[in-house]
Amino acid sequence: MRTAFNEEILKIAEKDSRVFMVLSDIGYGEIEPFAARFPERYFNCGVAEQNMTGVACGLALEGNMAVTYSIANFPTLRCLEQIRNDVCYHKANVKIVIIGGGMAYGPLGVSHHSTEDIAIMRALPEMIVLAPADRIEARAAVHAMMEHEGPVYYRCGYKKEPDIHKCSIDFRIGRSIEVRSGTDITLIGTGTVTYRVCQAADLLASRGISARVISMHTVKPLDREAVLQAAEETGALVTVEEHNICGGLGSAAAQVLAEAGAGVPLRMVALPDTYIHEVGTHDWLLDRYGFSPRSIADTAGKLIGAGV
């Protein structure tokens, strides 16, 4: 997915001379084409994320679009106050891109697991929070992000996540995409874990349960209508996110449902509120923490009393 991101940003930069890439010494093997094509719009700040974010803000306040880019928590948590005070308060046209959302960097360990990012970024006024599910969404999301005037957080995958879309999509910020239709329950996924949600829906279908699947590529602003419509039409919801159970997609959906008095059963498939110190590949960790298609399908089946 990161390759898709870098290809699209390069295309946009060809057409729009306001695009700057502002890095903190991360991007090896991906960023070189941009650096070679636009050396005057490429700045490696060194390993200095606070300065990277401030510099991007300064560039943006002068009429440019600045993209900060690094892995996992480096461009978000290390420089959170710069994002809040400098970028968001000034509504600066800065795009914050992380590579490897969730546990994508698996065995690298806790420092490289971005598992509280959605909650933290969605708490910031002015911030848009994007987590595309596959490369097709990822490419479209880059364009939507750059067309949006103001701060955007973009949670990118790492590599080779399976595609969930077979054809071109209508990607709009704040408008979710129904990946498959269904009437008995709705599974809402965000980010690169969504392919497992689709696989869970296949399993449910084999058990005679018709599951709708929604890709919630924008966590903020959340697509309220899609959530409420799913509640009304399917009567039960499961949210799936590779993120701490506190404050992410599930929390956002629960808020919408509770405020609307929807009163439908809801389960959140998310990471427990703890650090994942077990060592393993991305896939191994996902399976271990309840994100296997079977586990997601079982959670959904139990929720509507269909057993497992």
Partner: protein
């Protein structure tokens, strides 16, 4: 440097100091010592150095001035009001309910380039603005006023290194070097000396000046950049609380509010009617 400009700087500085004393007295707020410390620098900047237009605050070719020590914002508000960016009456609402002016400097006020308040934020943004100006071939300058405390922040040094790496000679930092910070004197908190030497070693063109001598402030700022291809660093030696005898050089004047009697006494020392 003319006699007249000296007089106008001195007059502006007195106005800034008097406004700051009245504003912090009315608001029962702190940081007046930090404001008085940089009043002379601001007087010269806003009277004789910065190219800004009160009738068009967003003028594209304006010099960009960022106050990184946002807690001293009232002093910039005072200078802006005196330059006609907004009515002087706004100053009366500083720190008050439904007021126009917050304790830390805000870009929602006409003439303010950037909001700060947490230290270490100004210089990275100034670096970004300087890069943008150079990229656009624009002639304006970026000037960032920082405090001692600002220079404790790692982010300031990240920006120091990047500015030198890119030879940003359209960027200037002025340090309000009063050697007093929130909890103590610099020698007891984090000693920065040899301060000028550090910056020279980091690749900046450095000058040390007396931050209360109008002629020295003006003549040096008129010579920017100090060197082609290097960012300029002005180490302005100042006295915290300058202009009010019992505040000068004290840690107490960082947070302490001004009482009714102190206000009268302080204004008398400035030669201003209470």
């Amino acid at each position: 440097m003319t006699e007249t400009s000296i007089v106008s700087y001195a007059e502006m500085a007195v106005k800034i100091r008097a406004h700051c004393l009245r504003m912090t007295h009315r608001g029962r707020s702190g940081h007046v010592g930090s404001m008085l410390s940089m009043a002379d620098i601001l007087a010269v900047l806003y009277t004789g150095i910065l190219s800004v237009d009160p009738f068009n605050p967003g003028w594209e070719d304006r010099d960009r001035f960022i106050l990184s020590k946002g807690h001293g914002g009232a002093a910039v508000y005072a200078a802006l009001a005196e330059r006609g960016f907004f009515p002087r009456e706004w100053l009366d609402t500083y720190y008050l309910d439904n007021g126009k002016l917050s304790g830390h400097i805000s870009h929602h006020v006409p003439g303010v380039e950037f909001s700060t308040g947490s230290l270490g934020h100004g210089l990275p943004v100034a670096v970004g603005m300087a890069i943008a100006a150079r990229h656009a071939g624009a002639g304006h300058r970026v000037i960032c006023l920082v405090s001692d405390g600002d220079c404790n922040e790692g982010s300031t040094w990240e920006a120091v290194m990047m500015a030198a790496q890119h030879g940003l000679d359209n960027l200037t930092v002025i340090v309000d070097y009063n050697r007093v910070q929130a909890l103590g004197k610099m020698e007891d908190v984090i000693e920065m000396e040899p301060f000028a030497g550090k910056l020279k070693d980091f690749g900046w063109a450095v000058r040390e000046i007396n931050g209360h001598d109008y002629a020295e402030i003006e003549s040096n700022l008129l010579e920017l950049p100090f060197e082609q291809g290097r960012p300029s660093w002005v180490l302005a030696r100042t006295v915290k609380g300058k202009g009010v005898s019992w505040m000068e050089g004290t840690v107490a004047c960082h947070y302490g509010a001004v009482s009714d009697e102190q206000l009268i006494q302080a204004l008398k020392e400035l030669g201003v009617e209470a």
